[in-house]
Symmetry: C2
Subunit: 312 residues, 2 copies
């Protein structure tokens, strides 16, 4: 499946794995890259030494291109940015901020820069900064989210920019991929789908919580604080939403989720932890290898789009 995205990134299938904090490490990312997609290491708030170590382990496990997600609010962002340039990773995806201060550094190192955006204005701004492509993420995604849905945001951004668009949020099978392509995307990013693969090292409880989730089992906390986050509903989200409705302070609310993602991913505490996942969790029913997942999605999408050339 050749598109402008697969050509740009020199990968077999235009399927990118989300750079999820605590989840996106080298075992998962190398499996994705070896299966023909683009594996991503999520650097989140990690120090540069951790990122460098992950990159070097990736290089031992795959000869295929891979990327690193940079969380621009990280206290280590400056150092991490330089490590990525030194290591000349193929791709950087960015979230939670403006990558402008690092664009020249990365582009000079030959890195393809792909910001995650959730509005037309941000998309246009990133294009002006010489971004190579955009990940357009709808509110149905897991973790930190915007307000617009994939269905409405993708075509509006496709119309507004000239660089390739990768759709994210709500995609869990070939139907979702084909739909994203109809909307004008030329690639997809999946998060929740990759969390429940065999190569994903998250705690078994975390995978089970996603695999047994129904369509309406995700909740958005933090809308009142301006930092909405989507997770599978549990005791934490119930308590958070109750306190939020009562007008609790930002600090009180923050306390409820402090270390919550690690609690869920690493310790398997899916009662009090933050079980971040997208609305598409309700569609995911089985644990598969990254290769099985990618092949199944791409095969189904190709079958649905058979005969048309829009992805050619």
């Amino acid at each position: 499946m050749k598109t402008n995205v697969s050509t740009l990134l020199e990968i077999k299938y235009p399927v990118i794995q989300g750079g999820m904090a605590w989840v996106a490490e080298y075992h998962l990312a190398s499996a994705v890259s070896n299966a023909g997609g683009l594996g991503i290491i999520g650097s989140a708030n990690a120090p540069a030494t951790w990122v460098k170590d992950q990159i070097q382990k990736m290089k031992q496990l795959t000869k295929q291109p891979f990327g690193v997600n940079v969380m621009l609010l990280s206290p280590h962002v400056e150092e991490v940015a330089h490590v990525l340039a030194e290591e000349k990773v193929a791709v950087v995806t960015t979230g939670a901020g403006n990558p402008e201060p690092y664009m020249k550094l990365w582009k000079d190192a030959g890195i393809k820069v792909i910001p995650v955006v959730a509005s037309v204005a941000m998309a246009k701004r990133m294009e002006r900064l010489q971004a190579d492509a955009l990940i357009v993420e709808g509110t149905e995604a897991g973790g930190h989210i915007g307000e617009s849905t994939t269905m409405t945001l993708v075509p509006q951004i496709v119309d507004a920019v000239h660089i390739p668009v990768i759709a994210a949020g709500g995609i869990g099978d070939g139907r979702g991929m084909a739909a994203a392509f109809m909307l004008g995307a030329q690639g997809i990013q999946m998060g929740t789908g990759f969390v429940v693969t065999k190569e994903s090292l998250v705690h078994e409880n975390y995978k089970k919580a996603i695999l047994k989730a129904k369509d309406i089992d995700s909740k958005v906390t933090g809308r009142s604080t301006g930092h909405p986050v989507r997770s599978i509903r549990n005791q934490m989200t119930n308590e958070y939403l109750k306190k939020e409705k009562e007008g609790a302070t930002f600090e009180e609310l923050e306390y409820l989720t402090l270390g919550g993602l690690k609690k869920a991913v690493v310790d398997g505490d899916v009662i009090n932890g933050s079980v971040m996942a997208g609305q598409i969790a309700g569609l995911l029913k089985e644990e598969r290898s990254c290769k099985e997942l990618i092949h199944s999605i791409v095969g189904e999408a190709e079958e649905l789009m058979k005969g048309n050339k829009i992805y050619g």
Copy 2:
């Protein structure tokens, strides 16, 4: 474009106009039906005499099938339900409740019943009640909404039921229609798109507010009350969201939107009124006739899906 939905409803194109309160009256609905879609009269809280009058005017303006949307919380629902059976309208769509008490009445009159649903559980329940098809509406829609997006909800409901699914929420052009079909829908319902047609009698200010809206210009009020509503942001939504954050009572909040839709649609007060519209407002740039809109959407969708037979 022949699908199970167009065959079931005996219409040329599987495009249904949303039964929007104050907007969906016989001028608009007859234009939609005459253009090959399914026009719908929105009965909302109107008395049965108004509904009967609208139906009779429709019958003078079109020989094509049309429908009526029943708002099940209406104080006049009982009487309205009987008028629909007497008048033998082709289709009833239902919202805001459970149509069970009227199913036998309508089915005995030969009416096709199509509930609007926003979850898998409700979809299955409506199938058990002998619904003929379902309108699956994502949170990107305008007016009263659920939480799941079109992208995630449509495939989950398609997998859960055996009756045809009509996708609603976030569809404004042929790309959206083609995407909905890839997700497994066999028809679409559009609301906001039809509000801004030439035949729509809403106030010019209301149309302008939609046509000039950007991607992020819709806001959801009432999430804290359990009755979320999407509108174009204005002084009313700003004030509502501020009060909501401060923990205002249900009554205080209700007061802000009392008669708000009529204020916007009829009086053109788009500052204090409820300018209900979906997120796709950002994509809509021009006023067209219903015929132009339907032909453009269907033509574009067919072009995108050329060669595949999934809608055949």
